[in-house]
């Protein structure tokens, strides 16, 4: 590994850790920001027995000074101990790891749809100016504006209630059943993001198509399909990968709405449910998880850039 790359990596990792620390501080101090004393906040709506008070005091180290509370809590979190869910009376880490596979399945499924549909629409609209381009633009413009809860509503009423092709709710068991159960949720989740990716693909391709090197390749007699594949698409890949990467975290947040709409028992609906019943330890853990996912996705995108475009020098002068 060369020096600048190493320095870039180190810098990014330090940045990532700092942002995560700041996030954890916000998430932790939220307990104290809330009106009332921390124990009654954490137990809101439930009778506070002396045992419960003692357990929460121990878990959040409430008998210590504030700064020490945070450090002790952070130590627990780093050791994988997010405390116990008030609602499920279960270890938060365990609870999340039970529900995470469903959400990951859903996000991967939606991501595949987004990539395939978004790329095809974007490429077609860049290569076929005129009517086709206008139609695709009209569709992507609309689909970007369709929030997932509305997509979920329409998809349910048409394909689940009217036609009965797909199940109304649940996540299913086993791969194919899960695929069948999660098709409508994945479409609802993918709709906006596919429109966005199509737009980005289109403008990145149009940018490249107007470049001189494309003109040169064509005049040298390189077959058009190769020009598109090797000269246009290859160069347009940079912005496309960036957008796909930043979508991952937004998609994790969006699963909360889609999973709630389709009663899929994943991490997203767990977040909404935990906020509704005020199960704060779970909310804390999930917030940290999403922010971490966002930061890691961004880091991966940045690391991929030089592979896509060797001219991008990581850690070089940012100009």
């Amino acid at each position: 590994m060369n020096r600048p790359l190493l320095r870039f990596l180190l810098g990014r990792l330090v940045g990532l850790v700092l942002v995560l620390l700041a996030t954890s501080f916000v998430v932790f101090s939220a307990v104290h920001l809330a009106p009332g004393d921390p124990v009654s906040f954490l137990m809101r709506g439930r009778p506070v027995t002396p045992q419960a008070r003692a357990a929460l005091t121990a878990q959040y180290h409430l008998d210590e000074p504030f700064a020490r509370q945070y450090l002790l809590w952070l130590g627990d979190v780093l050791g994988g101990d997010f405390g116990r869910s008030v609602q499920f009376r279960q270890d938060v880490g365990e609870l999340i790891s039970q529900k995470l596979p469903t959400t990951v399945f859903l996000v991967v499924y939606a991501m595949v749809l987004v990539t395939v549909v978004g790329l095809i629409l974007g490429i077609v609209s860049a290569l076929r100016p005129g009517l086709v381009d206008k139609l695709v633009l009209a569709w992507t413009g609309t689909s970007i504006a369709i929030p997932s809860y509305i997509a979920a509503t329409v998809l349910t009423s048409v394909f689940a209630v009217k036609l009965g092709w797909f199940p109304l709710y649940g996540a299913g068991e086993g791969f194919t059943d899960q695929l069948w159960h999660l098709t409508l949720p994945a479409i609802a989740l993918a709709l906006t993001f596919a429109g966005l990716l199509a737009r980005v693909t289109r403008s990145a391709m149009l940018d490249e198509l107007s470049r001189e090197h494309v003109e040169v390749a064509r005049s040298r007699g390189v077959p058009e399909s190769q020009v598109i594949r090797k000269h246009v698409l290859r160069n347009a890949l940079g912005p496309i990968v960036t957008v796909v990467g930043t979508m991952v975290a937004s998609m994790l947040v969006a699963t909360s709405i889609v999973e709630t709409a389709f009663s899929v028992k994943g991490v997203g609906s767990l977040l909404i449910n935990s906020v509704t019943v005020k199960d704060f330890p779970v909310v804390q853990a999930l917030t940290l998880l999403v922010v971490a996912a966002f930061l890691i996705a961004n880091l991966i995108v940045d690391l991929l850039q030089p592979l896509i475009d060797p001219r991008v020098a990581l850690g070089g002068d940012p100009k």
């Binding site: 009106p35 509305i150 509503t153 009423s157 947040v253 704060f280 917030t287």
Partner: protein, 299 residues
């Protein structure tokens, strides 16, 4: 640009006559942006008018329950039918436009002002002020607006206040980063230097010249943000975190429409859903149109 003007003016003249004659120059200039842009502006104006005049226009009280008339279809009594509790959907839609627009207005208003302040200060002062502000904006970027809003609801409880404040904070870096980059470009222009040489203070140059000059670009971004804020706030209300249930709100109505949906009655959910999509599309078109206009003028 002039070639497309006649077509769009003709298009625009169908719904509103004032555009044809004696219209202020500003409106005519907007109409030159194309028929789609004009239509989107008209939709937004209509939306605001409907929201403002809701008490005059609504045929019923938005929360007048009439259980005998549950899920009535469309008809002369109820143009859009009734919901499960027999409330008139049209009236609820009209009142819903108020909560639907007020929340995003607060979010976009405050985040635009804060973003301009942060961006201009960062660009103007440079040095450690710039790095401090830029780093804090980077930090905010790591929080998707929706997540911050959900976290705030978890801490401060449901209702419109917590999510709106959260989204004001979450939307600020988007404006701030844009303002910082265009303010830095604008700063290199000769006119700024000439005011500086004339002994103007930084404050006067920024407030009287720099900010007015970058405002059109920022407004384009704000229009797009407005659509997103509307979509996300309605989503929070759908989840039960935003506007609370008996109050008429598009997001709440979509969620209340889920049960009728299972009985194959679509309008209670579909009507507010359509309103949300139309509003968001219109804000998107207006935002893109404004951005287009700015970049055309720059060229």
């Amino acid at each position: 640009m002039s070639a497309s003007a006649p077509a769009s003016v003709k298009d625009a003249s169908t719904p509103t006559p004032p555009l044809r004659r004696g219209a202020p120059a500003r409106i005519r200039k907007l109409a030159a942006q194309g028929p789609l842009f004009t239509a989107a502006v008209l939709v937004l104006v209509l939306l605001v008018l409907l929201a403002v005049c809701a008490p005059l226009l609504a045929p019923y009280e938005p929360d007048a329950i009439d259980l005998k008339n549950s899920l009535a279809g469309t008809g002369p009594d109820h143009w859009l039918g009734t919901d499960q509790s027999g409330r008139d959907i049209l009236s609820r839609m009209l009142y819903g436009a108020r909560t639907g627009l007020l929340g995003p207005l607060a979010v976009v208003g405050v985040s635009t002002v804060l973003g301009i302040a942060m961006g201009v200060v960062a660009a103007w002062r440079g040095g450690w002020v710039d790095s401090l502000l830029s780093r804090s904006m980077d930090l905010l970027f790591a929080f998707p607006a929706m997540l911050l809003a959900i976290l705030c609801v978890a801490v401060f409880g449901a209702g419109l206040t917590a999510p709106v404040i959260a989204m004001m904070i979450a939307y600020t870096p988007y404006v701030g980063r844009l303002v910082r980059s265009i303010a830095r470009q604008e700063q290199t222009r000769p006119y700024i230097e000439s005011y500086r040489v004339q002994g103007w203070s930084g404050w006067s140059i920024c407030t009287r010249h720099l900010i007015p000059n970058i405002t059109p670009t920022v407004l384009a971004q704000s229009a797009i943000n407005f659509g997103y804020a509307l979509m996300e706030l309605a989503g929070l209300s759908y989840l039960g975190f935003g506007v609370q249930a008996p109050t008429a709100d598009w997001g709440v109505m979509v969620s209340e429409g889920q049960n009728p949906l299972l009985k194959d009655v679509m309008l209670p959910a579909l009507a507010p859903a359509t309103a949300i999509v139309i509003a968001v599309v219109a804000f998107g078109i207006v935002g893109e149109g404004l951005a287009d206009r700015v970049s055309k003028r720059e060229r």
